[in-house]
């Protein structure tokens, strides 16, 4: 793997974490402390997205997230190329672990179900009559495309994420898979829908 010119501080982190003995232990402890601060900062930023009952568990969740982020960083040390500072690279893992847990935490008592009445609630900013007509036709065509051309799983993921605002990490947990795998299903569903809409004469809906 290509390694870019690494700044001195990042090189020191790498040297200590890849070494042995006290230097490694000290660097690991410093990194863990940094990741806990980042996790708590992320939780603080996201506080307004959490229901009241969920707030008391947040600090434990941050510590778990930081510990998992530390494990991920140590396991992936060999992939660090120096494109960004080491601490920025490491903080990315803490943010991912924390935000994923917080999204799931916020939804832990909510059901995720396929709800077809959502099509009737697609908001519309009352455009002029002709545009309204075209919009209605597009919504009907899209609804038909979702119903007729997506698999059950694609339909569930497409409607949950894009129409019901279910976080992708919540779906990943409920379906026993990863964020990346859910996104891939969503991406494929969107591509299929665009193709069907174009074939039905609706042009290129989104460039």
């Amino acid at each position: 793997m290509n390694t870019l010119a690494i700044d001195q501080e990042s090189a020191e982190w790498l040297r200590d974490l890849q070494g042995n003995g006290a230097a490694r232990e000290h660097a690991t402890a410093r990194l863990h402390a940094l990741l806990i601060r980042v996790a708590r900062g992320e939780a603080s930023r996201r506080r307004s997205t959490l229901p009241g009952r969920a707030i008391e568990d947040v600090d434990d969740l941050c510590v778990q997230a930081a510990s998992d982020a530390l494990m991920a960083v140590l396991a992936k040390l060999g992939t660090y190329r120096g494109a960004a500072r080491f601490t920025t690279w490491a903080c990315k893992f803490a943010i991912f672990e924390t935000s994923t847990r917080l999204r799931r935490h916020a939804w832990r008592q909510r059901k995720v179900e396929l709800d077809d009445t959502i099509w009737d609630r697609l908001p519309d900013a009352a455009p002029p009559v002709l545009q309204r007509l075209e919009n209605d036709q597009l919504i009907v065509a899209l609804h038909r495309a979702v119903r007729d051309h997506l698999t059950e799983r694609q339909r569930f993921i497409f409607q949950s994420v894009t129409m019901d605002d279910v976080p992708i990490d919540v779906l990943a947990e409920r379906l026993g898979t990863s964020r990346g795998a859910i996104y891939k299903t969503l991406h494929d569903a969107r591509a299929k829908l665009r193709r069907v809409l174009i074939e039905a004469g609706h042009g290129e809906p989104v460039s």
């Binding site: 992320e42 990315k92 989104v206």
Partner: protein, 76 residues
């Protein structure tokens, strides 16, 4: 249906490397933006993914906010 609603439903047709592929660029992207440097063209697919994926966009915004905060603390 507004343009932004349609974008939210169908995403963009531009090349999209997915969550894992984009994650590799996230730290570099945030450092470039926080230091005010121009983004090279190779970030085009990353930006497409940011438009298409709420979770990755939020995580990137969080990392960027963290860097800007650190910068403010360092210079303040």
């Amino acid at each position: 249906m507004t343009e932004s609603q349609l974008q939210k439903l169908l995403g963009s047709t531009a090349p999209d490397p997915g969550c894992e592929g984009s994650g590799e660029f996230m730290d570099e992207y945030c450092e470039l933006v926080s230091s005010g440097e121009p983004l090279p063209d190779r970030f085009a697919a990353f930006l497409t993914h940011m438009a298409n994926c709420v979770a990755c966009r939020e995580d990137t915004e969080s990392l960027l906010a963290l860097l800007l905060e650190q910068e403010k603390t360092n210079t303040g």
